[in-house]
Assembly symmetry: C2
Homo-oligomer: 290 residues x 2
């Protein structure tokens, strides 16, 4: 029996391998000039990053299922497993292709639709040129070898230099056409729009971002990060499409049943979350947000 | 007589020196844990970064004047010079203190209130751990040793994966209390809020961001970046406080006169700009934005 911690260590190896390839593809170390990038070039890098990860998973866990952002739409689902891997080979592709270093690689394993281990790789200006955030259910969250803990965060930090972040699709950004009026509660903090959900969740896990309204985004975006925040003692509130709370996140689909329909539902799953330091999330009533 | 290019090379040395100190102070290479940072710690790092830069300027150009973000409010102005240095020792302090690597160091020299040379240092996930953007009037702009040129940018790129960026104070972000309704023109592109004006201007100069609404911000934020964008063949449109165009940027104060009042006006100067690739800025009529 493989433990959650062993799965975590395995996933760290996956994102490290894919990260090596992705980082070396990022602006070619400035040996190439800053041209307008071709979208097809990026698609190739996304796909190859996913292949690197899939290949290692398949050879170690041939009976598990895999859902990736770069799956072909008509990919055949054969058989079923309670273990499903969710892969975002480059989250923040638009940043990556334009040459902004806020992107990430996210890999998680779900058991009956609930994340049990995961990792997020991000580029970083240190000697290694990256950081790896990792987590396993019941075992905490880590940035490299530093354990993460959000429970002691100052609830007033949003009003004294704390950062909040939002999706570029979120209702607070240029909201005139969306018939959604954000409440004052959601406008606290110094606002950022970063453009990579998994990158933001890594930043939330280490307390760099205190509060975020994430999504709408997919299961491969959220797979590792939501567990990462929970295991760092943070709060993860699921929101419906009207941005009303449906309670603390636990699983992507409730009433999980082991059949082909479920895998297809996971592939098509979309959602949004309110996440952050618990002292800050507790201050806010998510029903008032919009 | 010192040429603009010689000034540029001198400024590259300044930001490299300050960058070494600032980057080594950023999260201490993760040897320290991710605690809530103390604001006074950052103020110390900001101040020391400015001192590193000022000391080298003073010993080389003792007759020049210096304006820095970290100046004490009651700093005495003695004498006057047509040459004034503007220093932002850490632009994006909130990102820096919270542990997000989107910050910058900006230094420029102005002659009669017009930038003639400057550089922006930013952290980067390469072997050196930073990039230096540099520019001199009439001599072009560079990222490390790559010459930057925005003139060929695709005018439609904002609708096909191009990035636009905004200040967290800009009227498009949570605009309900600002009585400003943004037009559709300003909502094009994938929106980002990065939190460091000088970092954004570096990204604009290399075409990573196609279009930005910058500010309100100060002379030390804009000193290097506006010249950088112009010398990369980009467009820089000055906006008044109602976000209406007042024409192409050339100088921070028109009708420059060499007296003490001018230096005080420069220190108190605030403004906002619409910048980007010329093909994209030309498509937009800035008077329609708000």
């Amino acid at each position: 029996m493989v433990t959650n911690n062993e799965l975590k260590r395995f996933i760290i190896g996956l994102v490290k391998e894919a990260g090596k390839y992705v980082l070396n593809s990022f602006e070619g170390e400035f040996e190439v000039s800053f041209k307008d990038r071709k979208n097809n070039l990026v698609t190739e890098i996304d796909k190859k990053s996913q292949l690197i990860i899939e290949k290692i998973i398949i050879s170690n866990f041939p009976e598990h299922k895999i859902i990736g952002e770069e799956d072909q739409k008509d990919k055949k689902i054969e058989g079923i497993s309670e273990y499903v891997w969710v892969i975002d080979p480059i989250d923040g592709t638009t940043n990556f292709v334009n040459g902004i270093p806020n992107f990430s690689i996210s890999v998680a394993i779900l058991k009956n639709c609930e994340p049990i281990a995961g990792a997020i790789w991000i580029p970083w200006p240190n000697k290694k040129r990256y950081l790896i955030f990792s987590t396993a259910k019941g075992e905490g969250s880590w940035a490299n070898n530093v354990r993460l803990n959000l429970s002691g965060s100052d609830p007033n930090s949003l009003d004294s230099g704390g950062i909040s972040s939002y999706s570029s699709l979120s209702p607070i950004i240029g909201n005139q056409d969306r018939n959604i009026i954000p409440s004052k509660e959601i406008l606290r903090g110094e606002k950022r729009v970063i453009g990579s959900v998994a990158y933001e969740m890594a930043m939330i896990s280490k307390g760099a971002i205190k509060f975020a309204l994430l999504g709408p985004a997919y299961i491969w975006d959220f797979g590792a990060g939501l567990l990462m925040i929970k295991e760092a003692n943070g709060s993860v509130i699921a929101l419906d499409s009207n941005y009303s709370s449906t309670g603390e996140f636990r699983s992507f689909l409730s009433g999980f049943e082991l059949n082909k329909k479920t895998l297809s539902n996971m592939r098509n799953w979309e959602g949004q979350f309110l996440v952050g330091s618990p002292n800050i999330i507790n201050l806010a009533d998510s029903k008032k947000f919009v």
